[in-house]
């Protein structure tokens, strides 16, 4: 089922459609929550729960044919992350623009180095600088293995438009990553 079909069905009370929507977008919301609240699985679980529960409460007002569901969910998640930060009483500033330089390059080249906490933090910061559609297109294409056609359906765009989004997202990501890790 497409997203608009799922939304129509959920608005009519179809719990199967709700399950499908949840399983489709849980990975994206979860990655977003984890990237924003690095190091706290409990906080990421809170954000994920509150995001999906708020989404169900609001789904009656969602226009099934307008916008994209993932962007809408990330918008809710953004509010929930802000709430968690306020509750924690600490500020984490998420800034647009190039990522902050890490204290030093990875100790070793290769995958092992990439798994270091510093590099993970750097990748998260780079992803934070991307627009929502770029972030989602990248993760769907390169982590979830979706085709351009599938991504186009999810983003409610044409395939040509998605190719352009992916092109810009790749370039932006690589440029930022090269600035952060010139030797990687």
């Amino acid at each position: 089922m497409t997203d608009p079909e799922l939304i129509h069905a959920i608005q009519a009370g179809d719990e199967t459609a709700l399950d499908a929507l949840y399983r489709r977008y849980l990975p994206s919301v979860w990655r977003y929550a984890c990237s924003q609240l690095a190091g706290s699985v409990a906080a990421a679980e809170d954000v994920t729960s509150e995001t999906f529960l708020a989404a169900v409460r609001q789904i009656g007002r969602l226009s099934p044919d307008g916008g994209n569901v993932a962007g809408w969910l990330l918008g809710i998640a953004r509010h929930k992350v802000a709430d968690v930060r306020r509750r924690r009483g600490r500020e984490k500033t998420v800034q647009a623009g190039p990522p902050v330089d890490p204290p030093g390059p990875p100790a070793n080249d290769g995958p092992a180095a990439l798994e270091s906490a510093e590099t993970r933090a750097s990748v998260r910061r780079i992803m934070d600088t991307l627009a929502d559609d770029q972030r989602l297109a990248l993760e769907w294409k390169y982590l979830d293995g979706l085709s351009v056609r599938q991504i186009a359906r999810r983003l409610n765009r044409t395939e040509k438009a998605v190719e352009a989004v992916l092109y810009r997202a790749r370039n932006a990501f690589r440029a930022a990553f090269d600035r952060a890790w010139p030797t990687a």
Partner: protein, 325 residues
């Protein structure tokens, strides 16, 4: 390097640096079960036909009185419209219209100038069932409200607090940020009885209050009660300027005002210059769900001369506030 190779490089970086397996097991299943519960609970709350007839029968005196008052109100409105001239040609917009002031001791009266957001739904709401407590919907421009010259929106940018510390959406400050459309984000409070409160920072003579709940679709908010007071706890000198809680389900008393369908014009409540510093707006869910949305609240007032930080006592009997569409 071929494009595929470069993409493999990107896959490696993203997998190592960004991929996190989604939660499974009890957390994921428990969340899904809670979502199913929310979906089941999200049934529209409205008066069914049987309940409407029963309510009509039980409150026939109130209905008769309302009909009498409505008839009187229509008569007065006709007279008032004849006095101030025809409606403005822009739907909902009310421009400044000067009124002659033969008595120089009284302030010059002008029509309240309200900047409205764009229309967000069609002219005829069809999803709201009729009810004896629901005002008949009219899409035409509302009659102008005359207020003293110099009246401004004194709520703009003023601090807002809410009964729900963890809103479903938005922040309390959005209620007075000047954005009246629903596209720019708004405050959504949790289910059931909730309120928002505006601190005007000093007492004002309040001539009108306009509240915009969510208006992207036809919707009726229940138990809308608007109060003003001189203290933040609403203990002393509390005055209710609007109340459409017909069965006292909010516990603030039975109101005589009617429920209404939200649209881009908001609900204008004429308050006759009532002096107060704090404004509190209650609601109790709506015809689509149990949540409480506040897009914007305008409070139109003028400074109260000689007023200090303390509450302003009522000096005289004020005319009963009225609501204008």
């Amino acid at each position: 390097m071929r494009a595929e190779d470069k993409d493999e490089d990107l896959v490696g970086i993203l997998k190592a640096g960004y991929d996190v397996p989604p939660p499974t097991g009890p957390f994921a299943e428990d969340l899904l079960e809670r979502m199913r519960g929310e979906l089941r609970a999200a049934r529209p709350r409205h008066l069914g036909p049987g309940r409407a007839v029963l309510a009509l029968w039980r409150h026939w005196r109130l209905v008769a009185a309302a009909a009498l008052v409505a008839g009187l109100g229509i008569g007065l409105a006709v007279v008032a419209n004849r006095d101030v001239g025809p409606d403005r040609d822009v739907p909902g917009a009310v421009g400044p219209v000067a009124e002659s002031t033969p008595d120089s001791g009284k302030p010059r009266m002008v029509a309240l100038d309200v900047k409205l957001p764009p229309v967000e739904f069609g002219p005829t709401p069809k999803n709201i069932p009729p009810s004896p407590y629901l005002e008949k919907y009219s899409a035409g421009p509302r009659p102008p409200l005359m207020v003293p010259e110099g009246t401004t929106n004194v709520a703009l940018g003023k601090p807002v607090t809410a009964s729900d510390n963890e809103p479903v959406l938005g922040e309390a400050k959005m209620v007075t940020d000047g954005n009246k459309g629903t596209q720019q984000g708004h405050l959504e409070l949790g289910p059931g009885k909730q309120w928002v409160q505006i601190d005007l920072k000093e007492p004002y003579a309040i001539h009108a209050i306009i509240v915009w709940h969510f208006h992207a679709m036809p919707r009726v908010y229940h138990d809308v009660v608007v109060q003003v007071a001189g203290d933040p706890d609403f203990i002393e000198n509390v005055r209710t300027v609007y109340n459409n809680d017909y069965d006292n389900s909010s516990g603030l008393g039975i109101g005589k005002d009617l429920e209404y369908i939200e649209d881009h014009r908001g609900r204008l409540i004429a308050t006759g210059g009532i002096p107060a510093r704090y404004v509190r707006l209650h609601s109790n869910g709506n015809s689509s769900n149990d949540l409480n949305d506040y897009v914007e609240v305008d409070v139109y007032g003028t400074p109260v001369e000689g007023a200090g930080d303390k509450q302003v006592p009522l000096k005289a009997e004020l005319p009963r506030p009225a609501a204008l569409r």
